[in-house]
C-alpha cells in the first residue's frame, strides 16, 4: 500500500515537472511568513527591452482605463481584496498581487484573467497608455529624470509595433513564470496548470532570455546643476554576487551612509546579478562622504552588531513581505539564481569588508562645497552647567535692511553668537532669507552663502553652527529681511 502511494507520489511529481506551457514556482518556505499571500506572473526579457516592458505593464492593467474589461477586473479584485503592483527590471517584468491568505487561489485566477484577457488590438488602449506616459513625463522631477538617463531611457514611448513584438516574444508560454510566495497543494498546482494550458501566443520570433554576463559600470559623470541647490544623483554600486553577502553588503553600506552623513531622499533597488542602484538627493557633506569611501569595513564591535541587526531586520522584511521586494525575489528567479538568506552572516564577512565601486550621474551645484567646510579650529568642549535649562538666552534676530544694498551687521551677530557659544558650544543657527518670486531664490541663497562664509572665515564661527535656508516670504515680512534663528544642538 505504502509502495503504491510512493509510486503515485513519484508519478505526480513527474507529471508536475513536465514542461507543459508556463512554469510554476512556489516558495514553500515563505508560507505564512507575512500577513498577506503574494502571487505573481513574471516573464523575462533582454535588458534592452526594459523600457518596453515597463510601458507594456501599463497596458496589462491600469485600473483607470475606462473599459469593460478593466472595470470587471477591478470589481473582482476589490471583492477579493487584492493589491496590485507591477515591477520591471533588466531581467524581466512582472505583475504582482497581494491577497488575504484565504483568497490565494482566486488571486492566481485573477492574474490569469488579467493576462489572458489583454486586448492588445483595442485601438484606444495604446493611445491611452501613451497619453498617461506623456502626462507622467510632464511632471517628471529632476531626480527621476536622471534615474531614467542612467538606465539609458530616452523618454519616448515605444511604438505600437515594438509593444506588439514584445508581447509576442516575452509572453510566450515557456517564458512565463507563475508563482506564489507560499505553498500550493498538488491539486491546486494541477488546477493552475489546467487554467494556463490554453495560454498560447504565436511565436514569430526566437525566445529571448536574460544573459548573466553583466556589462561594466558606465563611467562616473558629474554635471553642473543650475536648477536646484542639493545634489541629485543616480548611481550604481557593485555588490558581491552571493545573496547573503550581497544583502549584508548593502545593509552595511546603507547603515554606514545613514550614520556618517545621511542623504535627504533615497530610493534603491537591486539590479542585475551584482549591482545595487539608487537615485538620491543629497547635500554636500553626504556627497563628499560617499565619494571618499573606498573600502567599507567595520570600525568596532558596536558597529558590527548594528550591521548584523540591520541584516536581520532586512531579512525578516524580505521574507515577511516578499511581494514588496520583487527586485530580490523575482529578479533572482528570472536570472535563475536562488535566494537563500541564513539567519546571520558570519562575522568574518563584516570584518573582511568590501572595496567600493560606485558609478553614476551626478548633478552638482558649485555651492555644495560650502556645506563641507571643515572646522576652522578646535572648540574646547565645556561642561554644561547644571542650570543651563533656564540660563541661556540664545541669539536670534530679524534684520530688515534700512536701505537697499545695506549689509547686515555681521560683526554684531558674530559677537553675540560667540558669546552664546562660550556657554553652550553645540548651538546651531540658521540664516533665513526670503524671496517673493521663485526666480529670486538662487540669488538670495548665494547672498546668504556669502555672508555665511564671511562669518566663518572672518569671525571664526564654526561652520557646523551655521546653516542657510531660503523660504517664500510671508506677507508680513519684507522679502529683503534676514532672520537668524537658533535651532538648538547640532
Amino acid at each position: 500500500m505504502g509502495a503504491a502511494a510512493c509510486l503515485v507520489g513519484i508519478w505526480l511529481q513527474v507529471v508536475e515537472g513536465w514542461p507543459s506551457g508556463m512554469r510554476l514556482v512556489t516558495y514553500s518556505e515563505l508560507e505564512r511568513q507575512g500577513p498577506m499571500a503574494g502571487a505573481f506572473v513574471a516573464w523575462s526579457h533582454t535588458p534592452d527591452k526594459w523600457e518596453t516592458g515597463d510601458f507594456f505593464l501599463r497596458l496589462v492593467y491600469d485600473p483607470a482605463y475606462p473599459s469593460d474589461r478593466t472595470r470587471r477586473l477591478k470589481r473582482w479584485g476589490d471583492s477579493l481584496g487584492l493589491i496590485v503592483s507591477a515591477w520591471s527590471g533588466p531581467e524581466g517584468a512582472a505583475l504582482l498581487v497581494e491577497a488575504p491568505w484565504p483568497h490565494k487561489k482566486e488571486a492566481l485566477q485573477w492574474l490569469h484573467a488579467a493576462i489572458t484577457s489583454l486586448e492588445l488590438g483595442d485601438e484606444r488602449l495604446y493611445q491611452w497608455a501613451v497619453y498617461r506616459y506623456r502626462r507622467q513625463q510632464e511632471g517628471l522631477r529632476l531626480g527621476q529624470e536622471i534615474a531614467w538617463r542612467r538606465r539609458g531611457w530616452r523618454g519616448f514611448p515605444p511604438s505600437y509595433e515594438a509593444v506588439k513584438a514584445y508581447f509576442y516574444t516575452a509572453l510566450r508560454p515557456e517564458n512565463v513564470w507563475v508563482g506564489v510566495f507560499g505553498r500550493l497543494s498538488l491539486r491546486e498546482k494541477a488546477d493552475l496548470r489546467r487554467l494556463w494550458v490554453h495560454w498560447n501566443t504565436p511565436a514569430p520570433d526566437s525566445s529571448s532570455s536574460y544573459t548573466t554576463s553583466s556589462s561594466p559600470l558606465p563611467p562616473d559623470t558629474v554635471e553642473e546643476n543650475l536648477w536646484a541647490y542639493p545634489i541629485y544623483g543616480a548611481a550604481c554600486i557593485r555588490t558581491p554576487t552571493t545573496w547573503p553577502e550581497r544583502l549584508a553588503f548593502v545593509e552595511a553600506f546603507l547603515s554606514w551612509w545613514q550614520e556618517s552623513a545621511p542623504p535627504l531622499q533615497f530610493r534603491g533597488a537591486f539590479e542585475g546579478p551584482d549591482r545595487y542602484c539608487f537615485d538620491v538627493r543629497l547635500d554636500g557633506k553626504s556627497y563628499q562622504a560617499l565619494q571618499r569611501l573606498t573600502y567599507l569595513t567595520v570600525r568596532d564591535n558596536a558597529q558590527m552588531s548594528a550591521w548584523m541587526e540591520a541584516y536581520a531586520r532586512r531579512r525578516l522584511k524580505l521574507r515577511g513581505e516578499p511581494v514588496h521586494y520583487p527586485d530580490v525575489w523575482i529578479a533572482a528567479l528570472l536570472r535563475g539564481d536562488s535566494v537563500s538568506l541564513p539567519d546571520t552572516v558570519p562575522s568574518l564577512v563584516w570584518l573582511r569588508g568590501w572595496p567600493i565601486t560606485l558609478r553614476g550621474i551626478w548633478l552638482v551645484q558649485e555651492l555644495y562645497a560650502l556645506d563641507t567646510l571643515l572646522e576652522a579650529r578646535a572648540i574646547p568642549e565645556k561642561r554644561l552647567a547644571p542650570d543651563t535649562a533656564a540660563g541661556l538666552v540664545p541669539f536670534e534676530t530679524l534684520w530688515v535692511p534700512p536701505r537697499r544694498r545695506a549689509e547686515p551687521p555681521l560683526s554684531t551677530w558674530a559677537a553675540a553668537m560667540q558669546a552664546n557659544l562660550a556657554s553652550q558650544s553645540r548651538l546651531r543657527w540658521v540664516l533665513v532669507g526670503y524671496y517673493r518670486h521663485r526666480r529670486e531664490e538662487g540669488a538670495v541663497l548665494r547672498r546668504l552663502h556669502g555672508w555665511r562664509q564671511v562669518l566663518i572665515k572672518q569671525y571664526l564661527i564654526p561652520p557646523g553652527a551655521l546653516q542657510v535656508q531660503v523660504r517664500p516670504a510671508p506677507p508680513d515680512v519684507s522679502p529683503n529681511a534676514i532672520r537668524v534663528v537658533c535651532v538648538g544642538f547640532s
Binding site: M36, I83, E98, E309, A389
Partner: protein, 337 residues
C-alpha cells in the same frame, strides 16, 4: 555503571546546551506609542520630551546597535511615535526607554529651550494652525509638568505588533491602562471656525471630520469605505488631489486633504457630501481585509481600534453596513497654509 553515569552526565550536558541556547531572531516587531496633546496644543513640549528621552545615551546606543527605526511627529491632535525593530531590538529598546523615563530629571538638566525647526510636513502645519498651536520653545518647568502629567500620568497608549508584547507592559506599566478619558478630553476644534476666503490659486489644506453615532465594527467598516470612496472620488474620478492624511478620533476620523486647487476641491467635497449614502458598499470586507494588512495601515488601524475599544473582529452584514453608512456625518472647512 560508571559508563552509564558518564553517559547520563553527558546527556545532561548536551541537553542543557540544547535548552539554553540563545534565542534566535524570530520576527519583526512594530509599535506605536501615542498620546493626546492637551487641547491640541503643546506640540513643542511633547516633541522636546520625546527628543530628550530618545537622546538619552543608553537609548541612543540601543537604537544604534539594534538598528531600531523610529519616527515621531504630530498626527492631528495626537503625538505619535512609531518604531520598528527585530524582537530583540524591541525588547532592548523598551528596557532602555524605561531607564530613560527614570532618568528624566537628569536629562532635563541638559535641556536648553530652543525651538525645533523640524516637522514642516503640511499636515502638521495645518494641524498646528487649526488648534492655534505654536512651536515656541517651552520652559524646562513646563516640560517637567508635561512629562509628569502625560507620561507618568498614564496618558500614553501603545500598540505593539509582534510576539512577546508582555515586556511593553512590564517596562512601561502605565501603557494601555484605561485611565484615559479620551471621550471627554478630545479637543474638538469648534467647526467651522470661520469661513475662510479661498485663495484664488495656492496651496491649501481641507480639514474634514467624519463622525458615527455608535462605535462598532459595522460603523468602522462603513466609515472606512466611505473615506476610501472619498479618496477615490477626489483622486481618480475628479483627478484633483491625492494627498490625504488620516487621524482617528474617538467618534470618527479626521482626514486632512492637501490641494493646490482650492475652489475645485471645495466644490468636489460638497458634491461628495451631497451624494446619497448607502451605495457602493459591495466588496467592502474584502478591500478592508487587504488594506488592514498594509504596513502603514496597521499602525493607524491599531490606534483606531484601541480608541474605539473594539474587540474581536466580527464581519458585519451588508445591511448593517448600509445602515451605518447612512448615519455617517461629515463637515469640512479650509485651512489656509
Amino acid at each position: 555503571m560508571r559508563g552509564f553515569l558518564l553517559g547520563s552526565i553527558g546527556a545532561l550536558v548536551w541537553a542543557q546546551s540544547w535548552c539554553f541556547q540563545p534565542p534566535t531572531i524570530k520576527g519583526l516587531a512594530q509599535w506605536r506609542l501615542y498620546h493626546l496633546l492637551p487641547g491640541g496644543m503643546g506640540e513643542a513640549t511633547a516633541r522636546n520630551v520625546l527628543r530628550l528621552l530618545l537622546e538619552d545615551s543608553v537609548v541612543r546606543y540601543v537604537c544604534y546597535v539594534y538598528h531600531v527605526q523610529l519616527r515621531y511627529g504630530r498626527q492631528g491632535a495626537w503625538m505619535v511615535l512609531d518604531g520598528e525593530a527585530t524582537e530583540e531590538g524591541a525588547y532592548a529598546f523598551f528596557h532602555a526607554l524605561r531607564g530613560a523615563i527614570d532618568r528624566f530629571p537628569q536629562l532635563l538638566q541638559s535641556y536648553v529651550g530652543l525651538p525645533g525647526g523640524e516637522g514642516e510636513d503640511w499636515s502638521q502645519v495645518a494641524a498646528r494652525l487649526l488648534w492655534r498651536d505654536t512651536l515656541e520653545s517651552p520652559t524646562a518647568l513646563r516640560l517637567s509638568q508635561f512629562f509628569y502629567e502625560v507620561w507618568l500620568g498614564g496618558k500614553v497608549q501603545g500598540v505593539y505588533w509582534g510576539r512577546q508584547g508582555g515586556h511593553l507592559r512590564r517596562f512601561l506599566p502605565f501603557v494601555g491602562q484605561d485611565s484615559l478619558a479620551v471621550w471627554e478630553s478630545y479637543p474638538w476644534p469648534e467647526a467651522p471656525l470661520s469661513a475662510q476666503a479661498l485663495p484664488a490659486q495656492g496651496d491649501m489644506v481641507f480639514y474634514t471630520r467624519w463622525g458615527v453615532p455608535t462605535r462598532s465594527w459595522a460603523s468602522l467598516l462603513a466609515l472606512w469605505a466611505h473615506l476610501k470612496g472619498l479618496e477615490a472620488y477626489l483622486c481618480e474620478e475628479k483627478q484633483l488631489v491625492c494627498q490625504f492624511f488620516w487621524s482617528p478620533t474617538p467618534r470618527g476620523m479626521e482626514v486632512w486633504i492637501y490641494t493646490s486647487l482650492p475652489y475645485a476641491t471645495a466644490q468636489a467635497l460638497s458634491g461628495f457630501l451631497g451624494r446619497s449614502g448607502g451605495e457602493g458598499m459591495w466588496a467592502v470586507t474584502g478591500r478592508f481585509q487587504a488594506w488592514q494588512r498594509e504596513g502603514d495601515a496597521q499602525l493607524l488601524l491599531g490606534q483606531w481600534l484601541c480608541l474605539w475599544r473594539l474587540g474581536k473582529y466580527e464581519v458585519p452584514s451588508p445591511r448593517q453596513l448600509r445602515q451605518a453608512q447612512r448615519k455617517i456625518q461629515g463637515v469640512f472647512f479650509p485651512v489656509a497654509l
